[in-house]
């Protein structure tokens, strides 16, 4: 409120229109001079803006994108479940009937990478948690996808098959399909659904390896060249959270399977039938 122009101050302002008019125009001139564009001023504002944008980006990356992508992946997987049911009802099962009725049927591997062929249901990750499984582990089209989130290593076996059915999913960001992988406890059920039915696996344990640890994908994990005698489910994700320094590996062992004709297993019947 310091007035630098002496002409205005002594006037007692007799009439509104004679004295006020020059004062206002002078004030406008002063404020225009104060806010005239300067290099440092513009640079400062650009830097502040950049800071805000970076903050927004981190908020989106760590939090908002996870929520929106997770919700979209969940919804897409629920649609896949319905689709699998309809496929089965049309008689489009891809599996060959096993000789022994107790043996699980093995669905044929999808012909193309990126094709969704089943869903993963993990009650430990949430009461109605389900994600689509696509063929291949391409980051852009599968793992970062807003409709998939879980990828199948194509060099590994199919669900229920003797050997290793290996999956990858993000620990953080893009829906974080395997965000709670470290919360799995001994005995937790993990279900894989295909057009032919549900395969039940039982969680056994976690392992931590370097990103180069491809031996976890072997038919007998960590034992290259050994002929498999078990049906294993392997899940790989990042460790620690927010980092890609290591990989966290979850192993589960095949327990049994449920042909689609007999309906889903009890534990997940609510999840599946509610959408049927």
């Amino acid at each position: 409120m310091h007035d630098s122009e002496p002409a205005e101050t002594p006037e007692p302002a007799p009439a509104a229109d004679t004295a006020a008019a020059p004062t206002r125009s002078a004030a406008r001139r002063r404020s225009a001079a104060a806010t005239r564009l300067s290099v440092t001023g513009v640079l400062g504002e650009i830097l502040v803006t950049a800071g805000v944008v970076v903050m927004l980006f981190l908020g989106w990356y760590m939090w908002l994108n996870d929520i929106t992508a997770g919700a979209e992946q969940q919804q897409a997987a629920e649609e896949v479940q319905q689709e699998l049911q309809e496929q089965w009802e049309r008689g489009e099962s891809t599996a060959e009937r096993p000789v022994d009725p107790g043996e699980p049927v093995i669905s044929a591997a999808p012909a193309e990478e990126g094709e969704v062929f089943g869903t993963l249901i993990v009650p430990r990750f949430g009461p109605d948690w389900v994600r689509s499984i696509a063929s291949g582990v391409d980051v852009k089209t599968v793992l970062n996808s807003y409709t998939v989130g879980v990828g199948h290593y194509t060099q590994t076996q199919m669900p229920g098959e003797m050997g290793n059915f290996a999956l990858a999913g993000h620990r953080r960001t893009y829906g974080a399909a395997f965000g709670d992988i470290d919360k799995l406890r001994l005995g937790d059920r993990i279900y894989v659904e295909t057009v032919d039915g549900w395969y039940e696996y039982v969680f056994r344990g976690l392992e931590y390896v370097w990103p180069t640890g491809v031996e976890v994908l072997e038919p007998v994990p960590a034992a290259p060249g050994v002929a498999p005698t078990d049906r294993v489910l392997t899940m790989t994700s990042c460790n620690p959270r927010f980092s890609t320094a290591e990989r966290i590996i979850a192993y589960a062992v095949y327990e049994t399977w449920y042909p689609r004709a007999d309906g889903p297993p009890d534990e997940i019947s609510g999840v599946v039938q509610a959408r049927g």
Partner: protein
């Protein structure tokens, strides 16, 4: 810069505020829909696979 933008905007104060809100919303949509996904893929590659 922002003061200059504010002066360029036409109309009374409430119209200007409305315009600013719309502009900010447009910028946010562009950021979230295109800029942020691009930046995430380019600057912070996330790989959860082994051997990849």
């Amino acid at each position: 810069m922002y003061a200059a933008l504010w002066r360029i905007l036409p109309g009374p104060v409430w119209v200007r505020i409305l315009i600013v809100i719309v502009l900010v919303a447009v910028v946010l949509v562009v950021l979230v829909e295109w800029v942020f996904p691009w930046a995430a893929d380019t600057l912070l590659p996330q790989d959860s696979t082994v051997g990849g």
